[in-house]
């Protein structure tokens, strides 16, 4: 087998064929002011301030350990569940600081859903997985209602066609890509406003990744989506805005096109051309 290798500079397309950039810039959904995060003595995030638009996909990029996941977990206060983790600063969503004492993290998390790196369906049936959120939050008033929500969520997650005939089988019996779409369905079943995704495709094969990316692009119509990724190509494909983190600091944020074609900061330039990372 003969292999011809042509050395070309990396080409990063900023718009996938199916992606349609909004004509008008979206209003700000979440506005972050001066966030610092500490794990015990160690400071993980250093004075982060950024605006996240609604009904668009914002990508957090940066080398591993740069703090992008930590920051993501600030937005639904998942860091509360980690012993020894301390968050300082303001994250204002719809005019309210989510770190305020009056905010109930339980309510907040119903509004801000999250999808994790590795698909984590509960060891329950597919139906019960999706019904989990509506059940605990008391969203459905009766069984028909619940079934309706489950069906709608699975449809939105593009999974309905594949699982409608086996809703009683365990969620863990699905393939990795299906599991990830199942947990996305689980997240949207409680009708959140924001969906956080922590490297949602890193455990998936390319075909499953493409399905999930397509799904993200569709969900953008309805939800504010924040996605952490260390695949720059993915960020370029799915996001409208990109935020670059490095060593616990926010280096640069802007529209995805700008960041990838014309970064202001040399460190961003270095990262997207592969010199650091």
């Amino acid at each position: 087998m003969v292999m011809t290798m042509t050395l070309k500079p990396p080409v990063i397309r900023t718009a996938a064929p199916h992606s349609h950039h909004p004509a008008t810039p979206q209003p700000t959904k979440i506005s972050v002011r001066d966030i610092n995060v500490f794990y015990g003595e160690k400071q993980a995030l250093n004075s982060i301030s950024v605006e996240i638009p609604g009904k668009a996909v914002t990508a957090f990029i940066g080398p591993s350990g740069c703090g992008k996941s930590t920051f993501l977990r600030c937005i639904n206060r998942m860091n509360d569940t980690i012993a020894g983790c301390r968050v300082e600063g303001q994250i204002v969503m719809d005019g309210q600081d989510i770190n305020d004492r009056s905010i109930d993290p339980v309510v907040l998390r119903a509004k801000v859903g999250m999808v994790f790196q590795k698909p984590n369906p509960f060891p329950k049936s597919i139906f019960e997985n999706v019904a989990y959120g509506p059940r605990i939050h008391g969203i459905a008033s009766n069984k028909q209602d619940l079934e309706g929500i489950v069906e709608a969520s699975l449809k939105k997650a593009g999974l309905w066609a594949e699982v409608s005939d086996r809703l009683n089988q365990p969620g863990t019996s699905l393939s990795g890509g299906q599991q990830q779409r199942l947990v996305i369905a689980r997240a949207i079943a409680v009708n959140p406003e924001v969906i956080l995704m922590d490297e949602p495709c890193s455990a998936l094969d390319p075909i499953a990744t493409a399905r999930v990316e397509e799904l993200i692009d569709e969900l953008r119509q309805q939800f504010c989506i924040v996605i952490v990724t260390h695949s720059m190509a993915q960020a370029a494909r799915v996001s409208q805005r990109t935020v670059f983190f490095h060593m616990g600091e926010l280096i640069e944020s802007g529209s995805t096109e700008e960041i990838f074609t014309n970064p202001r900061e040399p460190r961003t330039q270095d990262y997207i051309t592969g010199r650091i990372g």
């Binding site: 109930d104 339980v106 309510v107 605990i136 939050h137 008391g138």
Partner: protein, 418 residues
């Protein structure tokens, strides 16, 4: 947020609080049981560690002591007379006063006089001072556990005797001090003379036998299973078998010991050797399991390094892997030996329940061990034995906690993160 949603949220948080309270209550219950257990035993037992001794001037009356037959003379009566004399009373015709006096002072004083007379016959006809323990009931009175307020019929000592005791105390003839006898005597039918030395020695001897059999055998078995054994059905069976053996009720090991060691092989009943063998079989599975997990924790890189410089598999295991695993092995071993130390039921099966008034002479002679001593004393009807039972438990727990602490320190000290 709608009212319904708000109400629902409130309910959810109330459920959360309730659940947290259940959890906390469970922990509080568990810990208060521990506190109650330890507290009760401490309260019941601490008084054993002090005891009251009396000093009496005894006239060695040649009329009452037969120099030719010292052993046959009633020294208890001589001591009782000395006590009566001190109280300014004499014995009556029925001997009631003397027997009341005998109820107060330990027979140990009589034995002391006997021994001194044997050594020095010239003492006959002279007055000597002997010091010895009070009888258990008198001791309890001084310690406030036998109260004058109790109706006379319900207590072991009558008012007359209590008056004497008060006078003895007032005159300074009775002194309270550390109860040495409890630690230097073996079991006795007289509570004030009963001690735990015999049981402690028995426990030590038995544990030595257990350790000598179970530790090398358990470690070597674990080495074979973890490092050499092929993975096949036979070794699977051994593994399942060992896990199950660890959960077999201890009394079944006792039945095994009775049927095989005693009735079939003729091992001596109630001896440290036999008990040690039974407990060794019992400790074996836990030692094997602990050793295996310690060996598992040694990273393969160590083995590869040794094999890489040309060591044989046996050399690799015994020169490198096992020494690395040793802290874990020791921890598991100490814990299982501590467990064996507190075991009682199997020992009852092999006849270790006899009354043993002496220090065990050897590994094949009948002996008591601490937990069995606790069981025997708990069964005794005299109240003073209950006090001693609790004290013996304190000693047993001190040993066990010391062993557990040693294991914990070992684990902390040598804990290694690879």
């Amino acid at each position: 947020m709608t009212d319904i949603a708000a109400a629902r949220l409130k309910k959810r948080h109330a459920a959360e609080t309730r659940f947290r309270v259940y959890g906390r209550t469970a922990i509080i219950i568990a810990l208060s049981f521990l506190a109650l257990l330890m507290g009760r035993i401490g309260m019941q037992g601490y008084s054993t560690f002090t005891t009251n001794t009396v000093s009496l001037s005894v006239y060695l009356d040649p009329a009452r002591i037969d120099a030719g037959d010292l052993e046959g003379s009633n020294f208890d009566y001589v001591v009782a007379l000395a006590l009566l004399k001190k109280m300014g009373e004499t014995d009556d015709d029925y001997g009631t006063n003397a027997s009341e006096a005998m109820d107060l002072v330990s027979r140990d004083l009589g034995f002391q006089i006997l021994n001194r007379l044997k050594a020095e016959p010239g003492l006959l006809g002279k007055t000597i001072t002997v010091t010895g323990p009070m009888k258990a009931n008198a001791d309890l009175y001084y310690k406030g556990q036998l109260k004058r307020e109790t109706a006379q019929a319900d207590r072991r000592l009558n008012n007359h005797q209590l008056d004497w005791l008060d006078r003895l105390k007032a005159d300074g003839d009775v002194k309270s001090g550390f109860n040495v006898a409890f630690f230097t005597h073996a079991d006795s039918t007289e509570p004030e003379q009963a001690g735990i030395l015999g049981a402690v020695m028995g426990s030590a001897m038995m544990l030595l036998v257990t350790a000598l059999i179970a530790v090398p055998m358990g470690v070597l078995a674990a080495v074979w299973l973890e490092e050499f054994a092929p993975k096949n059905r036979w070794t699977d069976i051994i593994e399942v078998n060992i896990n199950n053996l660890a959960a077999v009720p201890s009394i079944v090991y006792g039945l095994l010991g009775l049927a095989v060691f005693i009735n079939w092989l003729g091992a001596p009943r109630g001896a440290p050797l036999t008990g040690g063998m039974v407990l060794a079989l019992m400790a074996l599975p836990t030692i094997i399991i602990a050793t295996r997990s310690a060996l598992k924790a040694v990273p393969p890189s160590i083995r590869e390094a040794a094999l890489g410089v040309g060591a044989s598999r046996t050399q690799t295991v015994f020169h490198h892997v096992l020494p690395q695993a040793m802290p874990g092995v020791m921890t598991g071993t100490i814990l299982s030996l501590a467990h064996a130390l507190g075991e009682t039921a199997p020992l009852l099966m092999i006849g270790m329940i006899a009354f043993n008034p002496g220090i065990p002479e050897g590994f094949t002679s009948s002996a008591s061990v601490l937990p069995v001593q606790v069981f025997i004393w708990e069964n005794a009807s005299e109240r003073a034995f209950h006090e001693r039972t609790a004290a013996a438990i304190i000693v047993l727990l001190v040993f066990m906690i010391a062993m557990n602490a040693a294991a914990v320190i070992l684990r902390r000290r040598f804990e290694r993160r690879w």
